[in-house]
Subunit: 425 residues, 2 copies
């Protein structure tokens, strides 16, 4: 956004004026957006950058097809986890060579939670409690359940508002996703990390809905460990590899248990004994999926392109403006249709998404998708809309609400074709 | 090969005759092979199938770019780990729905070794020993070291010939790679599994250098667990995801520790409690890298295409013939140049590769690569040549040896440009 205050948005023409004045508007040109679609689901799967197809083709035809194994050296395949990691580091307040791309978010969480437990085990009397949020993304809880049970620890699931108080009970580890995937509620990473450390509690942050969407400052917050996702706001493509970070005070102190050869100090010595690489490289495990990794780099580059336009701070400002407009328009136009805001009203504690509950959220979302407005449904009753300021315009927000109004006023969501559940919802 | 016995190969013209008579010859048309190159490194990275570029483009442009998250259902993304897994199952003697594609070989080994340890823990008095081969691929040993130390067990590294005797000491688990990555020595999976079971020992087989290269019969051998690699003989592309299999008697009895949401019985319920899927699906963890997974399917299809031409048995016959020709020609033409066969001379105990040692193996291989014959060097002194009968011809073997002769006779490998080590060797 420009520094000058904009007029409030009362009409679609006002939206167009905001879009014309938006310094981030040119960034939309980086993407191949499907015709006739308003895509409000970049928090599930980011859209396709224009650069990706050609880059992946190059990797397939030239690096793999023509140069074959030579590309490990000549095309720099061997350094790609670090190269892309260093780019992501700039988006989350991590230092150079502190963050690598590897595996999935779930696997990386297993690594850092294992590392955190090892830190705890070295501090007698050993604390036994891992605290997380009941509404945390399930895969995070499943991994924590697995490790807690293996190490004789307990996983305590709390409501978000109870967490500060729970820290006084001196648990071992606080493991949170910064932005809740359903409600979009955003934790104050700095304050919670400080409070955790005041009680000797280690912190693990899942940045799945943060990286690329809002300012994150891992070192500034003095966080202990972090993981994050490549295929949401980083636009890395379906199932893009994830990333992992450990604070410098921890990184060399522990061998994470997934001790694959890519995390060895000298993988091509083929030594029978594991000797972990120094620094974050020891969090690598097997050979990375290079097609998906190359696509991730293209996605990360689309976010880094914002650095010339105000960077993450500018993205965040626009995200807040888009979300505020969406909430205002929905509440003004859809009153009486059973929608209830489930995201925080205060943008300071909200991520880059807005969720409303509705008793028939599933068919309502299906009817909306049939009209070309793509959000998603999250069980049991949530309509979830993600706003990606790199490519979402103010007119998109306006038009999306117009379609939602049509769906609700006309009652078309009651049609049987919108009731049937797909395998993936 | 046709059933009629072929003449022995004495000349390049004989090679051409063998290629003309080869029923597998048409399968070479499936690949984009680089001009001027004889590629004998398909055991490190398989070549590019012609179908891959278009398939990955379709996934990028249509499934991701146009259809976005709908593709989880409409393009069947959600079932891809099982779909490709079922195709690989046909190549390794696994049943329908017994094998899935997931993560890397290292990560999958962590899962199955964890599962095997859990089986052992339920059989008091608990056995403490994991036996493997000193020359096993290092990442397998690193993962085993990690889990052994975590569970108070010990990893015993033995020479291959000592393993049958060691089984009488009743270790807990025998973990082997069927075909040794350096020498190409092939274990007798059926006999070793039987011997292991006679002593109550569980078996884990790494099929990295077997799947797609030689007949494997996991169920026929009554193996317990297996993992394998997607980017070698399966031609899945650099860093393609790996696969994992567990025998039906084990698969439902244990929760492997990497309990990510894709292995949940109902991932889209978003339940806070992990409930493992039935069967092999519980060995899935996070969201799979779909670009790399789609490329893997194209690669697996190139091997399945051999089913119309005699299948894996025919591939194996041709592989043996190629390897025998290579050994005979090298020994006939390179005598006195310090090469020593490091692979078994008996093809029955050799995989689809041939290794020779040479005191200056690294520069010799670099000089050979500069002449367009690509094998690879393995520390400390191994020249390794992989033979992939899907695309390697008898004339390729002949011509490769001619180039090796030139390198050795001319001594060009002594040039300084061939001495300098690259990051990846």
């Amino acid at each position: 956004m420009s520094n000058a205050p904009m007029d409030p948005i009362l009409t679609r023409a006002d939206c167009e004026q905001h879009d014309r004045a938006d310094p981030l508007a040119p960034l939309r040109e980086q993407f191949d957006l499907p015709d006739g679609t308003i895509y409000l689901d970049g928090n599930s799967l980011g859209v396709l950058p224009k650069a990706t197809a050609a880059r992946v083709q190059q990797l397939i035809s030239e690096e793999w097809g023509r140069d074959l194994i030579k590309s490990w050296n000549s095309a720099g395949w061997i350094d790609l986890p670090q190269r892309v990691g260093n780019k992501i580091a700039r988006l989350v307040g991590a230092g150079e060579n502190e963050l690598v791309v590897a595996d999935s978010t779930s696997v990386n969480l297993f690594k850092v939670l294992s590392a955190a437990i090892a830190v705890v085990q070295e501090r007698p009397p050993m604390r036994k409690l891992i605290v997380s949020e009941r509404r945390n993304f399930p895969t995070d809880l499943y991994i924590a359940q697995s490790l807690a049970s293996q190490h004789g620890m307990h996983l305590l699931l709390a409501e978000a508002e109870d967490i500060p108080e729970l820290l006084a009970d001196r648990p071992a580890i606080l493991m949170l996703t910064q932005v809740d995937y359903r409600s979009g509620r955003q934790h104050d990473m700095a304050a919670l990390t400080r409070a955790a450390h005041d009680h000797g509690v280690l912190t693990i942050w899942d940045l799945a809905h943060s990286a690329g969407a809002l300012p994150v400052d891992l070192n500034g917050c003095d966080a202990d460990f972090a993981v994050g996702c490549g295929y949401k706001y980083l636009n890395g493509g379906p199932g893009a590899p994830a990333f992992v970070w450990a604070h410098a005070r921890h990184v060399d102190n522990f061998r994470q248990p997934l001790s694959g050869w890519m995390g060895h100090a000298a993988p091509f010595e083929f030594s029978p004994d594991y000797r972990p690489a120094g620094g974050i490289d020891r969090y690598l495990c097997g050979t990375p999926p290079l097609l998906s990794l190359a696509a991730l780099e293209c996605g990360v580059d689309t976010v880094l392109a914002a650095e010339a336009h105000g960077g993450i701070a500018a993205l965040r400002n626009k995200s807040v403006a888009l979300c505020e407009l969406f909430i205002a328009r929905v509440e003004a136009c859809c009153a009486g249709h059973g929608l209830e805001l489930k995201s925080p009203r205060d943008p300071a504690v909200r991520g880059s998404q807005v969720s409303f509950s509705h008793a028939d959220a599933y068919p309502v979302m299906q009817a909306l998708i049939a009209r070309g407005v793509i959000g998603d449904f999250r069980a049991p009753d949530i309509l979830r809309f993600g706003f990606t300021p790199l490519y979402t315009r103010f007119v998109d927000v306006w038009d999306a609400v117009e379609q939602l109004v049509e769906v609700l006023h006309g009652g078309e969501w009651r049609e049987p074709r919108f009731q049937q559940r797909a395998a993936v919802t």
